[in-house]
């Protein structure tokens, strides 16, 4: 855990920015998250310490994107290579956030941080240099789909930050792709603010390679009448945490989440979601799927918080899990914390293996066992993949997953 030692001794960053200073100061107070807390107790300590073993790399070497070429109808941005921004500003109503705007917004976020819950963000903002922070202000509704890439190169830890401001009545499709090369750690924090009447279809695809690690955090603030749809997929990471925090700041907003994590070998991937309803008439529909094979471990913890002010909230959360091997394990913990009385809240969780009756039915029709399993998995995956914008049309995620399973 070289990085923690460097944070403690103040040797990590040469010329820290003001934000880095604030975050480093906070981290020095308690350099590591409390491993006994609910958010961290199941995280594999060895793997987590491996995440922190690489030295920080601020450079961003060119890399091959293992996904389709960019098309003219899409906007593709790579965090750390911001030269394309100018191009966008000329053609569309997308602007880069000024340093002052960025500073103000991030500081406001930090003031609300909980040392434990936002530990990943604190680390990210401590390490992320100005070049690796991409801030965008988006306006209008006829914006082509946007793809934003973050990437960690081998034998290093890369920190990337994305801040997006969506102004009123904005409507976008955004696909965020996090890529980890062999033996790498990626810290990705995203801050998203949806003004009134905004609508976002957000996709997050995180795709690692051998022994790559990821700390991916997503902080969303939704204002009145906004709609936020998230489709996410995490796979092939030695260790990955996906932390989602969504706040419906004044209620009257809609949130749909469909997420999936797939673990194999001895991987550990976890998803933590926290949905705060801070006003009435909020809506949430969430489904999280996990698939654990070999000796891997998949974790889901979702909490829904409905305070007194959030009357008429309608929230549902479902955790569906497939356990495919005797040595794999799944932990799931959907939670409800409710004070408002006029609400409809429910959650459900299941853990099982592939349905034997369905397999038998297919085999009696002459379909072989591997093919039948593939068909079942394909329908299991499809529900999530079809919800990931941009990718569902252009990318062959389903094939990628099926061929690897």
């Amino acid at each position: 855990m070289e990085i923690i030692e460097q944070i403690k001794t103040n040797k990590l960053i040469d010329n820290p920015t003001e934000i880095q200073k604030i975050c480093l100061h906070k981290l020095r107070e308690s350099p590591l998250p409390n491993t006994k807390s609910e958010q961290w107790r199941l995280s594999n300590k060895l793997k987590f310490s491996n995440f922190l073993d690489y030295s920080v790399n601020e450079k961003d070497p060119k890399f091959d994107i293992p996904f389709p070429e960019n098309s003219e109808s899409n906007i593709r941005l790579i965090i750390g290579q911001n030269y394309q921004i100018k191009l966008i500003e000329e053609n569309y109503s997308i602007q880069q956030l000024s340093e002052d705007e960025l500073d103000k917004y991030i500081k406001e976020q930090i003031s609300r941080f909980d040392q434990n819950e936002n530990w990943s963000d604190l680390l990210n903002l401590s390490l992320s240099c100005t070049k690796n922070i991409l801030g965008l202000k988006i306006n209008g509704s006829k914006i082509p789909p946007i793809e934003i890439f973050s990437h960690a190169s081998s034998n290093s830890l890369n920190a990337k930050t994305l801040v997006i401001f969506l102004e009123k009545n904005c409507d976008i499709e955004l696909l965020q792709v996090n890529l980890g090369q062999e033996n790498s750690s990626l810290s990705q924090s995203t801050f998203f603010c949806l003004e009134e009447n905004c609508s976002v279809n957000h996709g997050v695809v995180s795709y690692g390679e051998n022994r790559s690690n990821l700390l991916n955090s997503l902080n969303i603030i939704q204002h009145k009448n906004s709609e936020y749809n998230l489709g996410s997929l995490h796979f092939k990471f030695n260790f990955a945490r996906f932390e989602i925090s969504i706040t419906q700041s004044t209620g009257n907003a809609k949130t749909n989440i469909k997420g999936m994590q797939i673990t194999k070998k001895d991987e550990q991937i976890s998803t933590y979601t926290k949905i705060d309803f801070n006003g009435p008439n909020g809506f949430l529909d969430q489904i999280n799927k996990s698939l654990a094979d070999d000796k891997s471990h998949a974790i889901f913890e979702g909490s829904i918080i409905v305070p007194k002010i959030a009357q008429k909230t309608d929230a549902s959360q479902l955790s569906r899990n497939l356990l495919l091997s005797n040595d794999a394990q799944i932990d799931t913990k959907p939670q409800l914390e409710i004070i408002a009385d006029d609400v409809k809240c429910k959650h459900g969780a299941t853990i099982s293996q592939l349905n034997e009756e369905e397999l038998f039915y297919m085999r009696t029709r002459g379909i072989t066992l591997p093919e039948a399993s593939k068909l079942q998995l394909s329908s299991y995956f499809q529900e999530i993949i079809s919800f990931i914008p941009v990718a569902k049309d252009r990318w062959d995620l389903l094939d990628k997953l099926l061929n690897e399973n």
């Binding site: 007194k308 009357q311 899990n321 356990l323 495919l324 091997s325 005797n326 794999a328 394990q329 799944i330 932990d331 799931t332 913990k333 959907p334 939670q335 409800l336 914390e337 409710i338 004070i339 408002a340 009385d341 006029d342 609400v343 409809k344 809240c345 429910k346 959650h347 459900g348 969780a349 299941t350 853990i351 099982s352 293996q353």
Partner: protein, 480 residues
Amino acid sequence: MVNENLVKDVVKEPYKYGFVTDIETEKIAKGLNEDIIRLISQKKREPKYLLDFRLKAFKKWQKMDEPDWAGLGYKQIDYQDIIYYSAPKQKEKISSLDEVDPKLLETFDKLGIPLTEQKKLTNVAVDAVFDSVSIATTFREELAGHGVIFCSISEAVKNHSDLIEKYLGSVVPASDNYFAALNSAVFSDGSFVYIPKGVTCPMDLSSYFRINSGDSGQFERTLIIAEESSSVSYLEGCTAPMFDTNTLHAAVVELIALDDASIKYSTVQNWYAGDEEGVGGIFNFVTKRGKCLGKRSKISWSQVETGSAITWKYPSCLLLGEESVGEFYSVALTNNLQQADTGTKMIHIGPKTKSTIVSKGISAGNSINSYRGLVKMGTKATGSRNYSQCDSMLIGDQASANTFPYIKSQQPNSEIEHEASTCRISEDQLFYLQSRGIEFEEAISMMVSGFCRDVFNQLPMEFAAEADKLLALKLEGSVG
């Protein structure tokens, strides 16, 4: 809109069991140390192995921290300010109920638990525990005819020492948790049940716990052993007087079911809950666990929790035997400033084990009602199944209902299903009932009763009626 004030009035009901029995008691000095433990053990004339068990537990307890993970807000307990042994003064050996102090009999009469021969509840044998000691056990001879042992744990220590030595602490080890360790060190009395091989207990067994003294804690211990192919239904009730101070109740219940045995354990908990301002009330920290050791054994917990200022209670099942079954049916009602953190743990260890969890929480006033449960499928639990259902009902916009299910699976060939929902009293249903001429408070009571029906159906007859009445009482009252 449902009239909030009306609903609030409806859930206000004075506590009926809050009287104090004026009786001479023998108490030992306040405080907790090795000497106190030795004194308790000496008073009960216990064998050395039990004193060692207590001292070992005390040493472990001293090294432990009070758990705070449930996030219950209560003022710190001063463990040195508690009397750990308090007993009504009476003759040493009681051969018949005639020798029991009439005041005690009267107390239990007032509580609806008559102990005298002519008034005995038909077909229910009762072990009545008053503060730290068991004062009477009914129907003992009849039960003995069937080979069933039903007595206080102190008597069992004297007469059935082999069973106590073998099973005490085998399900809930002394070091299991903070409150179990405390109980193991200072437990005073409780009930002991032994059902021999092949016997179906001819009547329901029951223990009634009464805390009378305001400054003493109650630390009872219950041990039930069901041998092969036997079965028993056990009922437990509890009340306490109204005091401004908080009284600590830290009990341990251990159940052991061998091959084909079945134990049904039902509780109606109505300890004093404190007043509307949250002053007084019992702190109820209880460890209840059953071990399904044998093949096809079954342990079923059903509970109706309406009392206590703080409830911290997770009746659990360790499903070791092949095809063993665990069940948990619970209704928890909280009002005013009560806090209940209750649920269950179903640990599937053996193959083809099954468990069912049905939990209903009703929160009113400013109370906090949480379901916290664990379902775990171990690596050998092939072909096992769990089904959980947790429903919460909120009355008023100040109450809080939380659900924290922990689900863990290490066995692909097993299935876990969990569902939870939160709602409030449906206005449509209320309107429908009222339009049919049913009074407001009766309509609420009917709806709550309907909400809890799945659990009430699992209670033994005598208890189902009592539980229904208890909830109705809590929900009845002065409609303003």
